[in-house]
């Protein structure tokens, strides 16, 4: 199989079961993720920002569709391309933006940056800069939920490149053995840096790769937030009810370069242009307005809200103090015993 064309994967929008409030939330989260990253791109261009970042532009429907079926106390692990996952799990833009600026009021107090964004109060256990590393960690969060008897579900987002890491296989085996409530979401944006999936996966039908471990899977149109939502909702419901793990492949496309300003020279421009026409936000807008479920002005109000949120987040970040040279010292160890001091 070569790089998948949109026509191979697209599913029509089916609004059955979605009320306008939910649709607005989905749209809001997708636009937040998009505009947050577009703002970052601009800030990087103008050299106001330290470090690096990986944009999920064009992939927002995956993060939003999946995370929107979760409860607030469910767990998520994310990747180097993690802004959208955080936003979908309701991590505040202010704390994320401040983290990008390496401020003390950042989500990780300026200690983590883009690749380690997390918010434990939101069940967001972290973006992991090591490809695949979050997969067993989410699996362990699911085991923890079983031991503590809480019915929480864990979701691990990872890429088509990460699926070839050993921990993917080890984790699926254990999750299946022990029927752990964990959903593995492979965000197949069709490239792992320069490598198209066909050059690094012997089996490119990624949702079938749980079959060695008896983990059921399914491939969906990852640029259709409703399709993603429905598939995730079923998987999460089953997991919560003790039916065990699920492997959800969401086919999408990484519109931007791998990181920051990288210009992909390893794929044809026509391919990029074609996929841009299947942008998840564009498609959602068209479908929702055509179906008459949301109006142009509904959407516009959300766009304006997000614009303001982003501006506010920059103001918030700029109001924060820069990380001090010695701040890190307090974060290496807790040195605390459970329930008290050592």
């Amino acid at each position: 199989m070569t790089i998948r064309k949109p026509e191979d994967v697209i599913e029509p929008f089916n609004f059955e079961g979605f009320d306008s409030a939910l649709l607005k939330t989905l749209y809001l989260r997708m636009v937040r993720a998009r505009e947050f990253e577009e703002k970052l791109y601009y800030l990087f261009l103008t050299i106001k920002m330290p470090g690096t970042m990986h944009q999920a532009t064009g992939q927002e429907a995956v993060a939003v569709g999946v995370a929107s079926v979760l409860n607030a106390d469910d767990y998520v692990t994310s990747t180097h391309r993690g802004h959208a996952h955080c936003i979908a799990k309701d991590v505040s833009l202010n704390s994320m933006m401040a983290e990008m600026f390496a401020k003390r009021n950042g989500a990780c107090k300026g200690m983590g940056g883009s690749m380690h964004l997390c918010d434990f109060s939101k069940g967001m256990l972290g973006a992991f800069g090591i490809v695949g590393a979050g997969i067993p960690i989410a699996t362990g969060a699911a085991l923890s939920s079983i031991v503590r008897g809480t019915r929480q579900v864990a979701v691990s987002f990872f890429g088509d490149g990460a699926i070839n890491e050993g921990v993917f296989h080890e984790s699926l085996n254990m999750a299946s053995l022990w029927k752990l409530p964990v959903i593995y979401v492979v965000e197949n944006n069709q490239y792992a840096l320069s490598m198209p999936n066909e050059l690094e996966s012997a089996v490119t039908d990624l949702s079938s790769r749980g079959c060695s471990y008896n983990v059921p899977g399914r491939t969906v149109d990852g640029n259709n937030v409703l399709a993603v939502y429905n598939a995730a909702r079923q998987a999460v419901e089953d997991a919560r009810n003790g039916k065990g793990p699920f492997l959800l492949e969401c086919v999408t496309y990484r519109v931007r370069g791998h990181a920051r300003f990288e210009q992909p020279n390893y794929r044809p421009k026509e391919e990029e242009e074609l996929w841009k026409q299947y942008d998840p936000i564009l498609r959602f807008k068209q479908a929702a307005t055509t179906a008459g479920i949301l109006s142009e002005s509904d959407l516009k109000a959300i766009d304006q809200q997000v614009e303001k949120e982003i501006e506010d987040s920059i103001a918030f970040a700029q109001s924060g103090e820069d990380v001090g040279a010695l701040d890190y010292k307090q974060f290496i160890y807790s040195g605390q015993m459970e329930g008290g001091v050592e």
Binding site: G110, G112, C118, F120, I137, A141, S334
Partner: protein
Amino acid sequence: MRKLSLADAIREAMIQEMRSNSNVILMGEDVGRFNGAFHVSHGMFEEFGPKRVWDTPISEAGFMGMGIGAALTGLRPIIEFQYADFMYCAMDQIVNEAAKLRLMSGGQANVPLVIRAPQGATGRAAQHSQSVEAYFMHTPGMYVVMPSTPYDAKGLMISAIRLNDPVLVLEHKLLYGAASPGGGKALTDQTISEIGSDVPEDAYTIPFGKADIKRAGSDVTIIATLIMVHRALAVAGELEKEGISCEVIDPRTLVPLDEETILQSVRKTNRVVVATEDVERGGVSAELTSIISRKAFDFLDAPVECVAADNTPIPFGPAAEKHVIPQMEDIRDAVYRVLKD
């Protein structure tokens, strides 16, 4: 007081903590139904069942990562590696994740987990014999604990379980004093003494970063860990007959390291031997030597002597293994060398 083996002491610590805190779980290969490859978890599966004692597949990176995920979400896992050598299969999860999550998250992440791993050379050749402490002493964000006696083992293990940080507890196979359930008889070594085998029944903690002076002396300081503590004590006993007084210090935790107790001793004796079982190059003995040289240079009457394993994978043949791993003679010769001038 009753005497316990080191394996018994560790087991008792785990059992007591698991009884008093339902969030403590044990995971690892063959730790449950088989009672652990070195019998350390004997009876725990029976008492606590499969939701608290997890027999994992042979997936070190996977179950290490799962332990981290469990630790981040309210449990306090104890993760046993069947042999310390196998920790290398899980290096990413240990070094890049467990040890770094607290800092990366700006202090949000508590990672209250304990890694237990048996190490040390016992005739099992290059992949079941290594002493791994240097790698993890080199990894900020985790503690490294090395109990040489049953008393220390119980108190340090309970502290390890209660701490909200990742702790690696390295256990020496020769010190376990227990038979392996695979039919092997208890591993022994004639240099191992009964020191510290009186173990209180009640739970108690030993704080990290407090070295223990296993024997007081005035002529030479020997800093030793795990089985080298016992070898150093045996040497000290012999040298006493020659009128040489050795002070034997066991740091007990390499991270945090009780530099003050070590430096105080150095300022008193002015002569130092460091004895560890990990390889010399880039090893713990080199690190201790560096600290002493930097912080007590003016007090040294002779160069610090490092007694450590030869820079080689551990060979199988008994004579070769014995040559590579520091023995009593090596420590004794080093003492003579630092006393020479």
